[in-house]
Amino acid sequence: MEIPGLLNYWIVIVLIMVGFYVVISQGNLVKKMVGLSVFQVAVFVLYISMSKIDGGAAPILDGAIKNYSNPLPHVLILTAIVVGVATTALGLALIVRIRDAYGTIEEDEILEQERNDS
């Protein structure tokens, strides 16, 4: 069967689409950040899935271990997780400031106020 073997990839595709859809469709800025995080995490899963092989162990130099999973993508994703955390933190910090300045975190209300400004 093809589907079980590719299950991770299907999950990745679904998560990417869900995250992306939330970013586009939600007017609430915090929900947008949630969508963005889901979107990013989906990519982490993509990287981690591609390096795993059936029966692969951790890459330790030992005569008993024949199959290794590729550790490199895991390490790459550690970096990407850090980037994701920084992005989320910065986004939320901006939302706090936006709420101070506009009194709302709904995009349409912010747009209305901006239109009145100009």
């Binding site: 963005l36 979107f39 990519v43 993509l46 990287y47 591609m50 970096t79 980037v83």
Partner: protein, 495 residues
């Protein structure tokens, strides 16, 4: 000592600004942090010149970080193109740091100024990192370093709209960067390598597979978001309009240029020219950028805020660069690379003048600029001369890059494209004239407060850039020479 120093220049170039950023947080004093930023910028400018000299003399430099051998460790690669782009970034950085203190002190609250310089240094090192690295994933990391810090820079703007502009840029910028790593991930899946040169060798074997074509699509859209390619440029006008003035000048002259550089790198160094036959990617880019140069120039005409007007003009100018890429010829790429440099000089000068205007009258709305030609004669003269270059009047750099672009179009027999480029230049005349008319032919209102010419610390940097516009318009040896050399290397697909 000096041999050791020159051997490690590529690492020093990135590490010095990166380490200076936390130093700024430790010092906290406005004067001290400015001095650090100034010294670091000029040091990097010096290193860029040394690197360019080394590349011209000995060919591309390959630097192994931590001495790990190339496809496994991260490799820094300096060739003609990256040395040239680094020269653009560092020269603009150095000049805007001389300009910065007056403008920054008046626009950003005192207790946040040290953060401005910290973030500037991080953006600076991120941009240099993107240019110098030879590793596709490392490029993503530097891309995020420069993007995250530039969101902060933009949000430091005085008006509250700066916050929403920064937030929108954060959302779209992150989507762009994530698209880029999806693309890189798919390429890694097929080739097992992240080193660009290594990728270039392994990709041809799998080039026709759907995975690689999808990867190409993701990377194109991701970088397209970063460079403000029409129609994913929507973050750009607000971000440029509401950011602090110096930030606008610095980012408009460097950030989109580095994104164009990334596109060139991925297309020509990693994928090679064959992708343009595998997918109609050239036609796709050509269509989008033609729409960009016409529609964005037209939209610029109707803007009331001078910074916003120039921001739309920037989207149009990015269109010119992408047209050069879509030609896939040596002349087209020469035009693109030339315009990277030339547009940095043009927009750097224009936005610095607007920063000086904001410093004096606290507004860059075009209606408020009435009569400034009389009270700020030197700044406004600089504005007009840089504007000539934007339009592409002969003797300026703007003319040189448009000349090569039209030459490239005619070489391919694309008469309509050449005509559209000329029409778009005429639109540039119209929107630029709108500002000039108000500045020189409208009287200053009676009740307007008395103001003076901008201080010398602002005039000198802007006139240096204006001077560069004319100097490199007349003496094209250095710029055209470097651009041609870089373009030939790219088109041959040499690493």
């Amino acid at each position: 000592m000096s041999a050791l120093f020159s051997a490690h220049l590529p690492a020093i170039q990135v590490v010095v600004p990166l380490i200076s950023a936390p130093l700024c947080v430790l010092f906290r004093r406005t004067g001290a942090t400015w001095l650090i930023a100034l010294i670091v910028s000029w040091t990097s400018f010096g290193i860029s010149i040394l690197l360019l000299e080394q590349v011209i003399a000995n060919g591309p430099i390959s630097y192994l970080l931590g001495s790990w051998a190339a496809p496994w460790g991260i490799e820094y690669k300096v060739d003609m193109l990256s040395a040239f782009v680094m020269l653009i970034i560092t020269s603009i950085g150095s000049i805007s740091m001389i300009f910065a203190p007056n403008s920054v002190n008046s626009e950003i609250p005192d207790d946040r100024i040290y953060l401005f310089y910290t973030m500037y240094l991080l953006t600076f090192s991120g941009l240099l990192g993107i240019t110098i690295t030879g590793d596709a994933f490392n490029l993503f990391v530097f891309l995020e370093i420069s993007s995250l810090s530039s969101y902060v820079l933009i949000s430091l703007g005085a008006e509250r709209n700066a916050l929403t502009a920064a937030f929108r840029y954060l959302i779209l910028g992150t989507v762009g960067a994530t698209f880029y790593i999806i693309g890189v991930g798919l390429m890694y899946q097929m080739t097992g390598t992240l080193n660009m040169v290594d990728l270039a060798q392994r990709l041809p074997a799998v080039a026709e597979t759907r995975t690689i074509l999808v990867a190409l699509g993701f990377v194109t859209v991701g970088i397209g978001l970063k460079l403000g390619l029409f129609p994913v440029h929507v973050w750009l006008p607000n971000a440029y309009a509401y950011a602090p003035s110096v930030v606008t000048a610095f980012l408009s002259a460097t950030a989109t240029k580095v994104a164009v550089y990334t596109l060139l790198r991925i297309y020509f160094t990693v994928f090679g020219t064959k992708i343009f036959t595998a997918l109609p990617i050239g036609e796709f880019l050509l269509l989008l950028s033609l729409i960009a140069i016409l529609s964005m120039s037209a939209v610029a005409i109707f803007q009331k805020n001078a910074k916003r007007l120039l921001a739309y003009s920037s989207v149009a100018q990015v269109g010119y660069m992408v047209i050069g890429i879509s030609m896939v010829t040596a002349t087209g790429l020469t035009a693109t690379i030339l315009h990277l440099f030339n547009h940095a000089m043009i927009k750097g000068a224009l936005f610095l003048v607007l920063a000086a205007v904001f410093f004096r009258i606290k507004s860059v709305k075009i209606e408020h600029m009435a009569g400034l030609g009389k009270v700020m004669p030197y700044s406004m003269a600089a504005f007009v001369l840089a504007g000539f270059s934007l339009v592409g009047v002969p003797l300026t750099v703007g003319f040189v890059s448009k000349w090569y672009l039209i030459l490239g179009a005619l070489e391919k027999g694309w008469w309509p494209v050449a005509a559209l480029i000329l029409i778009s230049s005429l639109l540039a005349v119209i929107y630029f004239w709108k500002i000039v008319e108000v500045v020189y032919f409208k009287p200053r209102p009676q009740d307007a407060p008395l103001i003076h010419e901008a201080p010398l610390a602002m005039l000198i940097p802007m006139w240096v850039l204006v001077g560069a516009n004319f100097y490199f318009g007349l003496d094209t040896d250095i710029t055209v020479g470097s651009a041609k050399a870089a373009a030939t290397l790219l088109i041959r697909g040499a690493p």
